[in-house]
């Protein structure tokens, strides 16, 4: 059992050792570390993105239309000052910190284009690759967390996209929900020999980097540095969900539920969210957790009722409960979105097709307001009746909560200035 506190690196720890250990008694030293660990934990701002791969039917989840021909089978229930789907009762209870934004109008209804637009705030453009938002946060916050030895952007079963002009060192580190990181140790090789290998590698890499072959050779070296940091880090423990109390795992995955096998997809998502909490505790500023199975062109209601919604409800409510119990909810922003919503009209296969004109995102935590339904669609869900919002506005709201100035401007490789979140504005109702 290590006595280095979570969220603190050995490097950092050792520097404390050097500075203080000699002058104060051991017991005080330990207390000092405890205090320090507490402050580290409390100040860590982070964002967890829940990515609904395939495009979720938000008209059946967050913006129900009872009485409309498009309304579907579900009834709304009270959630804070607003209403959500009856199959999300546990999440509804957390609408003191969660909100729905009901006037998303995002125009991209193709999976690839929608994925890009929602993740970056920009529509695809052949001359530039925009960074996915996790890479933006990695760039803004991760680079400042010197004690962080694991990647500052982790994607768990997700669908993260490219770091674009922010470079491979801000790319998502992709893991599955088992949290097993393949090939992450040197198999007992002694440190001296490993250093020898790295020294040789450095010589060859530097030679190639200085040969005028663009930026990719340097990026290769940067990524190796990150990989080596990770290999030698105690923070790798954060990936090990199985270290949690089985009761906690149960709470996220509802493993004991009678539906058994049907919960599998949700169980994975729950494990992912639990890992996200561990990573955020360790100081990772952005974690994306994917849940698939939303491309519901057919049989939408049964799939939602029996599979997707119960497991999602369990996972999200467990996360929020956990964050509240650990006093982390004020620092952790939660964002829920997919590529697009789904058609208000129910098709002949009792499914819904792709629809980007009027749909919902969920956002909360991170000291944002709670319990609100922001914006509205018409009675049939076909158009936004209030100011339409873009993904850039969602990400600007997240920036606000994370303490990243929305005036931040990045520069593309060609020297083009790029406003953070595509110049979006924090949603006024949610901040303040």
């Amino acid at each position: 059992m290590s006595f280095i506190p979570a969220g603190m690196s050995r490097r950092h720890f050792m520097s404390h050792m050097a500075a203080t250990a000699a002058t104060i008694p051991a017991i005080q030293f330990m207390q000092h570390l405890q205090v320090h660990a507490e402050t580290v934990k409390k100040n860590q701002k982070a964002c967890i993105l829940m990515w609904m791969g395939g495009g979720p039917p938000t008209i059946d989840i967050w913006d129900l239309k009872p009485g409309s021909k498009n309304g579907g089978e579900f009834k709304p229930i009270k959630a804070g000052d607003t209403q959500i789907c009856e199959h999300m009762p546990k999440t509804a209870a957390h609408f003191d910190v969660l909100n729905v934004v009901r006037s998303m109008s995002t125009r991209e209804a193709d999976h690839g284009r929608g994925r890009y637009f929602m993740h970056t705030g920009y529509v695809p453009n052949p001359t530039v690759v925009h960074p996915t938002f996790g890479s933006v946060v990695s760039h803004e916050l991760g680079s400042k967390r010197k004690e962080l030895e694991i990647p500052s952007f982790v994607s768990i079963g997700g669908d993260p996209g490219s770091p674009g002009f922010l470079g491979m060192s801000n790319a998502a580190f992709v893991v599955n929900t088992q949290g097993r990181i393949q090939n992450a140790d040197t198999d007992g090789m002694d440190a001296g020999r490993f250093r020898q290998r790295l020294a040789m590698l450095g010589t060859i890499e530097d030679n190639f980097i200085s040969s005028k072959r663009g930026e990719a050779p340097q990026a290769h070296k940067d990524v190796y540095k990150k990989a080596i940091d990770l290999m030698t880090s105690k923070q790798m423990e954060a990936f090990k969900v199985d270290k949690e109390d089985p009761k906690t795992i149960d709470r996220y995955t509802n493993a004991g539920a009678p539906t058994g096998g049907m919960m599998r997809a949700g169980g994975e998502f729950g494990r992912g969210l639990l890992m996200a909490r561990r990573l955020v505790e360790a100081g990772v500023p952005f974690v994306e957790v994917g849940m698939g199975g939303w491309d519901l062109h057919a049989n939408v209601f049964n799939t939602l009722k029996d599979r997707n919604l119960p497991s999602m409800d369990t996972a999200i409510s467990a996360l929020v409960t956990d964050l509240k119990e650990r006093s982390m909810i004020k620092d952790v922003v939660l964002v829920w979105m997919g590529e697009f919503g789904r058609t208000p009209r129910i098709n002949q296969d009792v499914g819904r097709d792709h629809w980007a004109a009027s749909w919902s995102n969920m956002i909360g935590g991170g000291n944002l307001k709670g319990g609100l339904g922001v914006g509205a669609t018409d009675a049939d869900g076909l158009t936004c009746e209030t100011k339409p919002y873009l993904p850039g506005d969602i990400w600007a709201t997240a920036c606000h909560a994370l303490g990243i100035p929305t005036t931040t401007v990045h520069t593309s490789k060609r020297g083009r200035p790029m406003k953070i979140a595509n110049g979006g504005t924090p949603i006024p109702e949610l901040i303040g």
Binding site: L201, I204, P217, V223
Partner: protein, 584 residues
């Protein structure tokens, strides 16, 4: 000791891979000599300027791979015109070591065996580059590499359920082995029917039929991959930037409405239950002559089979010789490959260009049309026409590309082109120097086998070797949560790839010090340390070490009592380097 692959592999890797016991070949000096000359020229360039520059220019302009094909001059003129118009000065011609590594990776999908490098560097033949291109086109590695590339393009890296990867590979392997005309290949794929292993061509469409969608995905993927057009958005509305109308999407879709997938099951006595058997692609009879779709304003419209305004309702209404409704996809396929510059030809030219150069003549490569101007429109146009004239000869297309001046330049940018010609940063690709490409996972795997003689100790069959590789490749695939089978890969230069290279079994085996391993052999058969070091560099990077590297390597050997371990570390560093993983 792991076994890697079988007898087929042994055959396609040059038999001469075995290390000659003879003393080192004279080319070393020559290669490093020419390197010195180059660095001197660069130095002179910086100081004295124009003299050296014009000498370099003359050298480049007089350069030839030895091919006498007149079309090469046309390609060169077109690319040079781009340089002139954009005031870009191209880089110099690549050295032979740089070029042979590139052309091997691009044509046969792996690094050149060391013996081949040594032979090529020593070869005084002025036409040796064009001869090597011809040789590689006849190498079994050509078939293997392009089968990989097109299997991934047609059915993805992760095989969808009820699709036969083996079937698709078998069809493509045969197509590339016989160098079948590309129009025939496309027609076969677009019109395919039957059992997924007996007629592997059906797997492209089966892979687009993972959910019932009235052939929508099949429509979008066929036009995108084989015609270079992205029309998926027009399913619901007119294209915002080009001429494609929503109606046109459904007219195209009409051709795919007979698609019918049948999944067969069989009883497995051992398991005591029914299990998946084969799938087949069948033709539905009696399908309506029109499809209906909903416009944005809610009106329902009908779309009849029509190809860019050419009405084929009557043709589609016919019966075939067996009395079935005519195969509409065959009607479509024939229209697609019709004409002196079919879209199928243009799309293939553009795609192949991008395979070799890293960037197509349009960007992205599969989104051609008036809304997305080509960087070299006349070049694309002419190549498309010549490709049709050549009877869609894919090998000929590769010859044109690989014998062009642009493909023979160095990947080192110069002051005069690094800013203006940097497509990674968003400029259009002007091909004034060769751009770096990352090895694909398959190229890495095959390269490590070649670089380390791993196949030599293997006794497994071709099939077993392929299975093993497939398992290894699967670790990188991330499937997305959509019904369209979208996917991505962690073999993208990110941390998991770095970890795999540093600690994974593949590299661990490649640097194995066991008896019979590559390192063991090279040490046994090469007596002197400098030669050993040189050979490790040649094997991994296709070049000899520079003086600094050579000295570093010697120091490492002196500092280690265990020489074998030191060589292992050296080889580990070479294989993990940026210079190894990039095609340059």
């Amino acid at each position: 000791m792991r076994t890697w692959s079988g007898s087929r592999l042994v055959r396609w890797v040059a038999a001469s891979l075995a290390l000659a016991v003879s003393a080192s070949v004279a080319i070393t000096a020559e290669e490093s000599g020419s390197k010195d000359a180059k660095s001197k020229a660069v130095g002179a360039d910086a100081k004295a300027g124009s003299d050296a520059k014009s000498a370099g220019k003359k050298k480049r302009e007089e350069f030839t791979t030895g091919s006498s094909d007149v079309l090469i001059s046309f390609i060169n003129e077109q690319v040079r015109q781009g340089w002139t118009d954009n005031e870009i000065e191209p880089s110099e011609v690549a050295g032979d070591g740089e070029w042979i590594r590139r052309v091997y990776l691009d044509i046969v999908g792996h690094v050149p065996p060391m013996e081949e490098i040594e032979k090529f560097l020593a070869d005084k033949d002025k036409a040796k580059r064009s001869k090597l291109v011809d040789k590689l086109l006849d190498d079994p590695g050509y078939v293997r590499h392009w089968t990989n590339v097109w299997t991934n393009l047609t059915i993805g890296q992760d095989t969808p359920q009820r699709v036969s990867r083996k079937g698709m590979e078998k069809f493509l392997r045969e197509a590339f082995t016989k160098n079948r005309p590309w129009n025939d290949v496309v027609l076969d794929i677009v019109s395919a029917e039957g059992h997924f292993e007996e007629n592997g061509a059906v797997n492209f469409l089966l892979a687009q039929m993972v959910m019932p969608d009235d052939g929508v995905l099949a429509t979008a993927k066929t036009t995108r991959l084989f015609m270079g057009m992205q029309v998926q958005c027009t399913q619901c509305h007119n294209h915002p930037f080009n001429d494609w109308q929503q109606r046109q999407f459904w007219e195209f879709n009409n051709f795919f409405r007979q698609l019918q997938k049948e999944d067969h099951r069989k009883y497995d006595a051992k398991a005591g239950r029914m299990v998946d058997d084969y799938s087949e692609l069948k033709r539905r009879d009696g399908v309506a002559d029109h499809v209906t779709y909903e416009k944005r304003n809610g009106l329902i419209e009908a779309a009849y089979p029509r190809y860019f305004g050419k009405d084929v309702v009557d043709e589609v209404a016919q019966k075939d010789k067996d009395g079935w409704d005519v195969n509409r996809r065959e009607v479509l396929g024939k229209l697609m490959i019709d004409g002196e510059k079919s879209l199928v030809a243009l799309a293939m030219v553009n795609r192949m260009w991008s395979q070799f150069f890293g960037y197509g003549i349009t960007k992205p490569v599969d989104d051609m049309g008036p809304h997305n101007p080509a960087s070299h429109p006349d070049l694309l146009d002419r190549l498309g026409g010549e490709f049709v004239k050549s009877r869609y000869d894919v090998k000929q297309l590769v010859r044109w590309i690989c014998n062009s001046e642009a493909y023979n330049l160095t990947s080192q940018a110069s002051k005069a082109n690094e800013e203006k010609d940097n497509p990674a940063a968003g400029t259009s690709a002007m091909f004034s120097h060769v751009y770096l490409k990352s090895m694909s996972a398959e190229q890495l795997y095959d390269s490590l086998i070649v670089a380390t003689n791993a196949h030599k100790s293997g006794r497994s069959s071709f099939e077993q070797a392929e299975d093993k590789k497939r398992v290894w490749l699967r670790q990188f695939v991330i499937a997305f949560g959509t019904d369209e089978g979208d996917e991505s890969t962690t073999f993208n230069g990110s941390i998991p790839q770095a970890l795999m290279m540093m600690n994974g079994d593949l590299v661990k085996d490649a640097i194995s010090a066991q008896k019979g391993s590559f390192l063991n052999t090279i040490l046994a058969e090469t007596p002197k340390d400098p030669d050993r070091i040189r050979r490790l560099y040649l094997t991994a990077l296709g070049r000899t070490p520079n003086p600094k590297e050579a000295k570093g390597a010697q120091d490492l050997l002196r500092a280690n009592s265990d020489k074998l371990a030191a060589y292992q570390d050296m080889f580990w560093a070479l294989l993990n380097s940026n210079e190894f993983i990039f095609i340059h």
